[in-house]
Symmetry: C2
Subunit: 457 residues, 2 copies
């Protein structure tokens, strides 16, 4: 061991933490296509969006030009409670794999929400509080986003109404209890508390709900309660902006040791983690300063980038939200019961979709059993039990490291470890019991779903 | 904010991590009383213990003289995967409490076992592996220890047989799945796999098990399988030795900023966390270098220090283990269904018992509802959902800080935050639903249990 050996974990000093978010849109020659008002088919103006979202967040959503947006001091102070997150050199994994590759991961799971979602939750809650609002509403499926928002609101003393997909509410009672402990009210969706919920219940009395329905209820609750707005944990430009803190910290930590990654890998559902991780590196590439290989990893059961189309679509199944131009499988696409709940989204962030469309990023889809094999291997070697979502990135990082073992290349690999799997043990149990399957949609199924995309103009 | 402000989280550099464990027994003028062989009533010799425990661990168990015991390089490398753990300055908590006190906590929950238990698990597994053993056996109740041992064994490729109290096995399936994911075999106890298990099942076919029974099964499994030894997660001197890494890191981090705590607080079940946290500070006091106030916090439902007797007793309900001199409620004491599973032990570490007996440490007992009130408050303010066990320390730290608010004293308080509550949400649910009760044993119940202590000589 030499004196200058890179430590197992690199922690930035507080003084080295980012003071501004980086807005990758500022460096994109082709900007992501604007959101469209579904009623008019015209680009959403700020006024359209402000009925649903906080004013400051609407500004961030629409701002394609400002490169750095300062992080308010209150948010930076909150970040200090759980950030900087460690950049880990995976020495143990490298050794067990016998690879000449150097592997790093940015670990976002060391907070009670168990994921990176808290980075945007505190920002969105802060702006809501600052605008004098009473509270916010949202939906949650797997529960990471709802937990993060409950924590942020609990800290700021803001009311938090979470619509939780009914089957998750019943199957993940512990997620529900974390949210309640932080003071959030959690309502199983569909519910009797909204018009859309009552309508759905009348039509399908036994339904266990869907994310689309929960979004519709949360939006209705926000727009019918005085002093409330709706917030969302992924897909939107503002969320990628807040999550840029992941990539900026990772880059600062690597820069301290003069390390430049060759390949940067992240899992992608709505795109918030991947977008945040790659932003500052992508910025360098867009400005012509350096080349990187970026890999988005998605589940084979919900392959929006690798098998979807690039087109305008609804962000929600309920079709109440604006239309976004993105890679999509169609808003009616129902993924199989894949356990990586956070990646079961039919579309993809418009920013990432545009970058992928321009060939600036690769995408791969992986099957669930292979993902859990990688997850278990990683858990035993690196000591961290990863979330199923994060394990998609682990799978491809391991595949890339094994390729280096064959070729002898000493590539430097960076991947995002977005969170922990402590609330996903039902899925691990299925894997441990050998009862996990790998459903992949057929071409016909995808074609049928894509055929329902809205026709514009 | 000044330039020299203490950060929210103090992380030591890897080079500043302890290279040896500190053995507080070396500085104790009165050593803890020796373990006794239950068959002869005489002090256990190394040979007595080596049938059950690894050789190197027996040496550590009996060594009352060596002040510093080097940590093998392999263990130090494993520590680097999840240590140094952060020493957190609780700025948010101080502000919300409006106290002039300065509050610090050493947070041991940022690893998949969710607690400090991993510090000793890796040490014990390492020595077992080094001795050429095939595997180790243990029992687990709440599950933190079993998880930690499974992780350590998974890393080293050592077999791990965990006997899990049957009611926990059924009520905490997720704990079980974490252990299985790390490759451990988990058997609900009592089981058909041991003689003692079959005997208990024949006598009580419907029993849901007990920690005492699980210990007996684990010890039998270790002594009847070639190449196996039994390991234990608390109470023993060797465990306190390994856990001294907590206190040494905490002290090194405070020393870096010239901070000297006045009061040091930890929860106490078997004593592993408290003993580890206070060791180096207690050493200073024993050597006459400095004064500290130490407070052990135990549940009012299982008050061994505050209401037990200081006497020789069995460490296990099954009476197969050696006798230890300690504060005890009697090995037949059955605590009420207190949710802080890790603190439901009838006795207390012989080292801590001796220190308490000599008046070097205070003890307080707290009721469960007050503990969960503190836990929820802490979660919302500091962002970490604490384990019920750890929340006993939080309760008393908050009480001490509020006392400072009244007196105006600027005391510096350090407490141990041993772990996270992600697998304890059934208890949080009871609290959230207002269904938690505070059972405290009567004097008659304690007297009846204590009356069953073994008569010696």
């Amino acid at each position: 061991m030499t004196e200058n050996k890179i430590p197992y974990k690199i922690y930035l000093e507080e003084s080295e933490m980012p003071q501004a978010w980086y807005n990758v849109r500022a460096d994109m020659p082709t900007k992501p296509a604007p959101l469209l008002n579904p009623a008019t088919g015209k680009p959403c103006a700020a006024a359209d969006l402000e009925a649903v979202f906080c004013g400051e967040l609407v500004k961030q959503e629409l701002d394609n030009d400002t490169r750095y947006i300062p992080i308010p001091q209150e948010i930076r102070d909150f970040y200090k409670m759980y950030r900087p997150s460690p950049l880990v050199r995976a020495y143990c994994l490298e050794e067990k794999l016998g690879t000449p590759a150097k592997i790093y991961y940015k670990f976002e799971g060391n907070n009670t929400s168990g994921s990176h979602k808290l980075n945007s939750a505190i920002a969105q809650a802060y702006y809501a509080k600052n605008q004098g609002l009473k509270g916010v509403t949202t939906e949650t499926g797997a529960g990471q986003w709802g937990t993060a928002l409950a924590m942020a609101c609990g800290y700021l003393g803001l009311d938090c109404k979470v619509y939780m997909v009914k089957c998750s509410y019943e199957q993940k009672p512990f997620r529900r209890e974390v949210m309640r402990t932080y003071g959030a009210s959690v309502t199983p969706s569909p519910s009797e508390t909204t018009e859309v919920g009552r309508k759905i219940l009348a039509e399908n009395p036994g339904t266990t709900g869907s994310l689309g329905c929960a979004i519709s209820e949360a939006v209705e609750a926000a727009t019918t309660h005085e002093g409330y707005r709706y917030v969302l944990g992924s897909v939107l430009n503002q969320v990628l902006l807040h999550q840029s803190v992941i990539g900026m910290e990772a880059k600062a930590a690597l820069d301290k040791y003069g390390v430049v990654p060759d390949t940067i890998i992240g899992c992608a559902g709505g795109g918030s983690n991947l977008g945040g991780l790659i932003s500052p590196f992508m910025g360098e590439m867009l400005r012509g300063e350096r080349e990187y290989k970026f890999i988005a990893v998605e589940p084979a059961s919900c392959p929006s980038l690798t098998r979807g189309v690039f087109a305008y679509d609804f962000c929600d199944t309920g079709k109440v939200c604006p239309l976004a131009k993105m890679y999509t499988l169609g808003s009616g696409f129902i993924p199989s019961a894949n356990h990586a709940g956070g990646l079961r989204y039919h579309g993809m962030s418009p920013v990432l979709s545009e970058l992928y469309h321009e060939g600036l990023m690769e995408a791969r889809s992986v099957e669930q059993t292979k993902v859990f094999e990688a997850a278990e291997y990683f858990a035993r070697v690196e000591g961290i039990l990863p979330a199923p979502e994060s394990s998609h990135a682990i799978r491809v990082a391991i595949d890339e490291a094994l390729r280096c073992r064959e070729t002898g290349e000493e590539k430097t690999i960076l991947f995002g470890l977005t969170g922990t799997g402590y609330f996903d043990l039902y899925a691990y149990q299925k894997f441990n019991d050998g009862q996990m399957d790998d459903y992949v949609p057929t071409d016909e199924e995808i074609a049928a779903s894509v055929a329902t995309l809205p026709k514009l103009g």
